[in-house]
Amino acid sequence: MIKTDIIIIGAGPVGLFTIFEAGLLKLKCHLIDSLPQPGGQLTEIYPKKPIYDIPGYPTVDAGELVDNLMEQAAPFKPEFTLGESAVSIDETADNQFIVTTNKGTQHMAPVVMIAGGLGVFEPRKPPVENLEVYEDKGVEYIIKDPKFYHGKRVVIAGGGDSALDWAIYLVEHKIVSELSLVHRRTSFRGHLDSVQKVMNLADTGKINLITEAEVTGISGNGKVENVTIKHKTQGEFVKEIDHFMPLFGLKPSLGPIANWGLDIEKNAIKVDTVDYSTNRPGIYAIGDVNTYQGKLKLILCGFHEGTIAVQSAFARIHPDKKNVLKYTTVNGINGF
């Protein structure tokens, strides 16, 4: 069991800045995030995009902002559980929370801050009827162990980097017996050298490239046996396969957060703006995941919310301790 003062669910910019503000109050944080790296949307979706409304930065790339937030938080030695998503929050008799992840990792703290942004990143699933019926029965969205596909006939759908890279990997390492890459257009948006590699492998017959086409159907007895592929001009045909991998990137969804007994409104957690607390005492929600009258989904507002929330958290964790606001300019940063 991992023990800390504040469990922060979500390692996006707001979660990261909250480490700093908690640290000033000598509270230690442990962050949980479903992505394998900190930064949330900023790192996952738009690392190279400029942001213009962070006070003091006329412009800063999203990825650079995350790097800076990590550096700013470093003196307070935050700990992370990455690549795992928080699935449940249980409460003990002595007012501690236990947050458990999908991999069973348990974390205990007197305070939980949900800084979950848009939620948990999950694979984008194409609109193919019965797709979910075949999940883990031949339909996979993430390739965990390439060897699993040894000697198999595989269809990959998608035109981005992950579709191209896996198609190349599975063919170049001679893992699969047959690989088809199905893509809606004739051009690809992946890296140029990956696109060139795929084209070369297609020219030599090692990748069966099916463009201007989409997978529209799936069938099989208890596991994937066939997919239906619809070509833009040549109509539909059925292909015998062992595995179908739709690789269309990730999208966020509120996911398990919706089941934690919190008041939800318009896909966000309702909070009291006095301290950004939820209806469950000891659980706060900050950043894009919360909602209140006048809410603005801005990083800078999330920074404010986290700052206010840790003051309230301090009072909950140390009800008998006095606390006064200290200025970093006067006191500096006293790390752990």
């Binding site: 035109g159 051009s187 948006r189 269309f248 990137g249 999208k251 966020p252």
Partner: protein, 109 residues
């Protein structure tokens, strides 16, 4: 009609047409206009052409500016894409789209 206002016609997923007044001087796009009228347009990425939750189909013969690479890239990976697909967030509210007719694409992107 008030100055600096145009009309956009949005057909929702139930087939109902919404005639919306949209300001041309607020630097808005179709996704934002839909959201301001509380139509079911998610606009998850905030307008960066990085999700396709504001995808719509152009059903009038308005001449829109050419699609940017980032819009084409996103539509490349999106679902329910047709030849007349557009991302609402990439259509700016300007005088020359007055009377435009757009149908919301299905949810699921």
């Amino acid at each position: 009609m008030a100055d600096n206002t145009i009309t956009v016609n949005i057909i929702d997923r139930e087939g109902i047409t919404h005639e919306l007044e949209a300001p041309t001087d607020m630097n808005m796009n179709i996704m934002e206009v839909c959201r301001s009228y509380e139509l079911p347009v998610e606009g998850r990425c905030g307008g960066m052409a990085m999700c396709a939750t504001c995808q719509c189909y152009l059903e009038s013969d308005h001449d829109l500016p050419e699609q940017t690479d980032s819009e084409l890239d996103m539509l490349d990976e999106a679902f329910f894409v047709e030849d007349n697909s557009r991302l609402g967030c990439q259509i700016q509210i300007t005088d020359n789209i007055d009377g435009i007719k757009l149908r919301l694409a299905p949810e699921g992107n």
